[in-house]
């Protein structure tokens, strides 16, 4: 993957606060339904799964389908009770897994 994923979440939060998490990854998201100039199907290549864990526990996950546009953007909310690390993973059709991490401090 050429570009590193983008994550946006607050660095600090209050205990029990619901925070907003924005993620974006650069990917062509080739649907597998388009044809090239010679009429041959362009093979599917998409991110098919996205997950988010906090301190090893699942927070959010999504199965992604071919209709999702290039550079998939996922935004969701999570309640934080303690300081820790969010870990994000994106799984490509070809098996490549891209990961990213962000820390948050809960006062």
């Amino acid at each position: 993957m050429a570009e590193k994923p983008r994550i946006k979440l607050p660095k600090e939060a209050k205990k029990g606060e619901v925070i907003q998490i924005k993620t974006l990854i650069s990917h062509i998201m080739e649907s597998g339904q388009r044809k090239d100039k010679d009429g041959k199907t362009i093979p599917r290549k998409i991110i098919n799964k996205f997950t988010c864990e906090f301190n090893g526990k699942p927070v959010f996950s999504a199965d992604i389908a071919p209709a999702v546009a290039a550079n998939p953007y996922v935004q969701f909310n999570a309640r934080v009770e303690q300081s820790g690390t969010f870990k994000f993973t994106w799984t490509d059709d070809d098996g490549t897994v891209t990961t990213a991490e962000e820390q948050i401090t809960v006062a």
Binding site: R6, K8, K22, L24, N71
Partner: protein, 414 residues
């Protein structure tokens, strides 16, 4: 006493002037002066229409046939097929066809007509003769030398039979247009407004080029040096530079923009091959513009060579080019703030400060030269290589009409 102060003043001025000249000559950036700054022979981008428009004028040469002096004579009344005509006026494969600029009743049952030209929904009541209608489509310049209408017949976009079918269709138009939806009415269609946060990397993937460029900045080129070696603090050194570009470059005898400057300066210093319209060149251009964000466009418009270049650029902006025979000023002057089919034609002001810009529909960064090239290919003219001197003149002219507009790069557009 007074004399002494005056003398001191003169002395100070002399010193400043000398220092200024010295600093300028010392600062003259090394440039590659021989090689071209973009690929040769220039090859049109993948996915762009492959048409040979060499019979028609470009910004590089005037070759289109001159305007005919008299209308063509027809043998008798026109007997065309109005149904075929209705499809032809909305044919998107013929340079946008009539509907691009005219509302024409229920023409071809098509959507989103434009409003550059008059609404023709009742032209059938106007009592126009067949020959007049035929010639107006064939080459309207015989009746109105100032028209922006393409010479559809004269430039071979439609043959005589097809034009006759279109005339037959025009004669059936006798009632005001009824629009299927409010958006189909170009008079009521709201002008597009770009509200996305173009400097937010979560919204604008064009921003990723800023990071890419910072890596390139530190990477050693073939000569074993990087940009960093001479420009340690890019943010300070280039705080306003991009806003002063393009500029006349006497060593090259042409106007040079940020992109061409990057190519030539990199080649002459680090040895990097960052030809125009490569990813590296685009990233560097985004970055250098980004560093000058918020600064008003302020190009040199007063030196003699700059004035001459702006004059040439203005002439080019008024030159009719391509099969559709448009000048820049036709769409972005006379027809500005109108719809051409579903596309909004903007004024020149505001068409410069956000380049290079991210194109959401293409998932790509376009610099201003690529934008020029697309305008040309779109109106069925052959484009020039991005480092063509004509584009330099045009860019300087465009920048001069955008003076004071604040840079906000990378922009984000459809």
């Amino acid at each position: 006493m007074r004399g002494r102060i005056l003398a001191l003043g003169v002395l100070a001025a002399t010193v400043t002037m000398t220092a200024g000249v010295y600093a300028q000559s010392k600062k003259e950036a090394p440039l590659e002066l021989k090689a071209d700054a973009s690929a040769r022979p220039w090859k049109r981008y993948n996915g762009w229409p492959a048409r040979d428009e060499s019979k028609f004028s470009t910004l590089g040469k005037v070759v289109s046939l001159p305007t005919p002096k008299t209308p063509r004579k027809l043998d008798g009344p026109i007997t065309g097929d109005a149904e075929k005509g209705a499809k032809l006026v909305a044919d998107r494969n013929r340079g946008g066809s009539c509907l691009a600029c005219h509302v024409m009743g229920q023409a071809g049952n098509a959507d989103l007509p434009g409003n550059v030209g008059p609404d023709l929904s009742e032209i059938g009541n106007a009592g126009r003769e067949d020959e007049w209608l035929f010639n107006y489509i064939y080459d309207a310049r015989v009746y109105n030398p100032e028209t922006v209408m393409p010479p559809w017949g004269g430039h071979g976009l439609f043959n005589d039979e097809e034009i006759k079918d279109m005339v037959a269709f025009l004669k059936t138009l006798k009632k005001p247009a009824v629009f299927k939806t409010a958006l189909d009415n170009p008079e009521k269609r709201p002008a597009p407004v770009e509200k996305r946060e173009n400097l937010d990397p979560m919204e604008n993937p064009g921003m990723w080029a800023v990071e890419k460029a910072q890596d390139l900045w530190k990477a050693n080129g073939p000569a074993g040096k990087s940009c960093q070696n001479c420009h340690t603090n890019a943010a300070t050194a280039f705080k306003t530079w991009a806003a002063s570009m393009p500029k006349w470059e006497p060593r090259l005898n042409k106007v040079v923009g940020v992109e061409e400057f990057v190519t030539r300066h990199a080649k002459a210093t680090t040895g990097a091959d960052w030809l125009m319209e490569t990813d590296e060149n685009r990233a560097m251009s985004v970055y250098l513009h980004f560093l000058a964000n918020g600064n008003p466009v302020r190009v040199d418009t007063t030196s003699a060579p700059a004035k001459a270049a702006i004059e040439r650029g203005k002439e080019l902006a008024n030159r009719k080019v391509g099969e559709l025979n448009f000048a820049c000023t036709d769409c972005h002057g006379k027809a500005a703030n109108h719809w051409i089919r579903g596309q909004w034609l903007g004024e020149p002001k505001g068409q410069y400060d956000h380049f290079p810009t991210w194109r959401t529909s293409l998932q790509a960064i376009w610099d201003i030269r690529q934008r020029f090239q697309w305008c040309q290919v779109n109106i069925r003219a052959d484009e020039l290589p991005p480092d063509a001197k004509e584009y330099g003149d045009l860019e300087l002219y465009l920048a001069s009409t955008n003076a004071g507009q604040k840079l906000s790069v990378p922009g984000i557009r459809h």
